[in-house]
């Protein structure tokens, strides 16, 4: 009896947590699946990123010095980041930042041609960055506390996700049987229930890893200030210093920088991968350091890094604190690559994408099941209208998000406004499109039709992205697979395949709630027996 009651309590915790956070879970899982390809997507989004990588890029050091000099009156340019031509980056990207007179962090960005050394037109971040930010920190507005608040909220979703996995597994008493049970030809409820269980159980190790690493990446933003409050009387910088994570202080003695085209090992001594990113701290100072980053694609690290003095060029040992500070620090260093699947090449990212989308579908299925059980399974104590409204909201919001994501990618392609307003315009457009799709789903009056129509719109939109790319940039997909625009061409192909699949699935989805044959038979039998019991007239 006690076990039965416990089972019910755990199941209730699972279902109520799921239904309360189902939509936000769907949102985080869906945007997370897209965020996996944040870097790979850049050439599709920005045609200036396409092109052959020159084997002998022009030196960049003087140009960077010129940019720093140009802005040194506006702020103290402490940080200089330079992305070297590699992979999908056919040019240099330069970031210069530092505090202004009021202590506020200011920065400028520039793009330099690797063949001529001239400054190229700079394109601000757009839809790609927005979809990435939505997963990482919900692109939380500054007026409501800024990105840290968004990060914490996503971290809390990770905590709830961990709880859902734990309670989901515990509430399944016949796991081995349920792993292999899919009753697709029975009732709607059984179909959704079995899909939810099978997807949940098979993906649970992946889901647990994503939830734990995601919870850590988000909740750390809450934990660090609180720990600093308790242990360092609120001094967060003191805590960071104690953990060995602080940047070296400026010596306030000017010193010439070693040219960045020559500094440090150009290829990693162990992996042989070339340096693709250099990050300077204390630029122009005696204590300046340069961290050279090398791709670590096949290792469980975000990147390999070597720190050198930017004045003498000597390697500074032990600077990568998370790699040189014991097993726990190393485990923490693996969390980010584990979460974003950066350690196994594009094949691993594709596997992550499928599993991530599976988690998103599972979240939506969980909410659908909850409503279905109450609306048609006799478990609800509210009116049919109440559950119909809930179902319509769930359908509109969940099916509307992919349609809005496709729409914002198209909008970014044809965006004609000021560059400075690009990102903000994407935010408004995405949420506007999502709201419209959700209203359509809500007003449609038939969730099955709304779902298949929104999926069809998403599919047609995806297919249309490839010709849109061709019209706007002039890069035709089939002639670009062997050129510097191959990254963009592969995305065109992926959009056509994914879009066609979505249209095909939409065509196969039912337009009405399928009739529960078993229940119908029972009802007919009951009617027959009632008729037999009626006295003959």
């Amino acid at each position: 009896m006690a076990n039965r009651e416990r089972q019910i309590r755990i199941y209730d915790l699972h279902s109520w947590t799921g239904v309360a956070l189902g939509i936000i879970m769907f949102f985080v899982c869906f945007t997370g699946s897209l965020a996996l390809f944040h870097h790979e997507f850049e050439p599709w989004e920005d045609e200036l990123r396409r092109g052959e990588i020159t084997s002998s890029p022009v030196p960049i050091h003087d140009k960077v010095g010129e940019i720093v000099e140009r802005h040194s009156g506006e702020f103290e340019p402490n940080f200089v980041n330079v992305s070297l031509p590699h992979g999908e980056h056919g040019h240099y990207d330069v970031f210069v930042g530092g505090p202004d007179a009021d202590g506020e962090f200011q920065n400028v960005e520039a793009r330099i041609s690797a063949t001529t050394g001239e400054e190229l037109a700079f394109r601000e971040e757009g839809a790609n960055r927005l979809l990435y930010d939505l997963h990482r920190d919900l692109a939380w507005p500054d007026a409501l506390g800024g990105r840290q608040v968004g990060r914490i909220l996503v971290g809390l979703v990770g905590i709830a996700f961990l709880l859902l996995i734990l309670t989901g597994i515990v509430s399944h008493t016949k796991i081995t049987k349920e792993l292999f049970t899919l009753r697709y030809l029975k009732s709607v409820r059984l179909k959704w229930q079995d899909s939810h269980k099978v997807m949940g159980l098979w993906t649970s190790p992946f889901a647990a890893m994503i939830a734990l690493t995601g919870a850590f990446l988000g909740v750390i933003a809450l934990l660090l200030p609180l720990l600093a409050f308790v242990t360092m009387k609120g001094d967060q910088e003191a805590l960071i210093a104690e953990l060995g994570l602080e940047q070296p202080a400026r010596a306030e003695i000017s010193a010439p920088m070693i040219p960045m085209d020559q500094i440090g090992p150009r290829v990693h001594p162990e992996t042989g991968n070339p340096v693709n990113f250099i990050r300077y701290t204390n630029w122009g100072d005696q204590n300046a350091q340069a961290v050279l980053n090398y791709k670590a694609e096949q290792r469980l690290l975000y990147s390999d890094a070597i720190t050198v003095s930017a004045v003498t060029g000597e390697i500074v040992p032990g600077q990568e604190i998370l790699l040189n500070n014991g097993p726990f620090a190393y485990i923490l260093a693996t969390f980010s690559p584990l979460h974003y699947g950066t350690y196994g090449g594009i094949v691993l990212k594709l596997i992550y994408f499928v599993l991530g989308m599976g988690l998103a579908v599972m979240s939506a299925l969980g909410s659908m099941m909850w409503i279905e059980r109450r609306r048609h399974g006799g478990e609800g104590n509210k009116s049919d209208r109440f559950y119909a409204i809930l179902s319509a909201i769930n359908t509109g919001v969940c099916a509307g998000l992919p349609a809005a994501a496709v729409a914002v990618l198209a909008f970014d392609k044809v965006y004609w406004g000021a560059e400075a307003a690009r990102y903000t315009s994407m935010v408004w457009f995405l949420f506007g499109a999502w709201l419209l799709a959700a209203i359509f789903g809500f007003m449609r009056g038939n969730d099955y039709k709304a779902n298949r129509e929104l999926l069809a719109v998403t599919g047609f939109g995806l297919v249309a992205l490839a010709p849109l790319n061709w019209i706007v940039t002039g890069d035709v997909m089939w002639s670009n697979f062997s050129t510097g625009a191959a990254g963009s061409a592969w995305f065109d192909l992926a959009f056509i395949l994914l879009g066609s699949s979505a249209v095909f699935i939409a065509a196969k989805l039912p337009a009405e709630r399928p009739v529960d044959k078993r229940r119908q038979k029972k009802a007919e039998a009951a009617l027959d027996s009632d008729a037999e019991l009626q006295p003959a007239e």
């Binding site: 416990r6 709880l163 309670t167 734990l212 850590f216 909740v219 953990l243 726990f328 620090a329 923490l332």
Partner: protein, 105 residues
Amino acid sequence: MSPVVMGILGTLFLGICYGTWRNPRLWSALFWSFVATFMITAAIVMAFPADFAQKVFALTIVMPLVWVGFQFWLYWNPGRWTVTLYLLGISLISGLIVAFSPSPV
């Protein structure tokens, strides 16, 4: 802290206390489990004899699991108030350890 902020926080705290009185499991899962997790983490950081950075790194990994563990325990245990009282006890004892421990650095 301004009186307005103190007033808002005080009202929020009273609301949480009232919510806990009405539904101890739910409000402990929402709030007290986090307080207990954080306080026990802080107490270990302050009082456990080990390298400060190593303790913080290890506890940062474990903390989400402890938090979820407390939430799960609330619904696993048959007693309506049992785990809530344990969580309050853990928070209190950890708070005392934090208050009376010397600074770790």
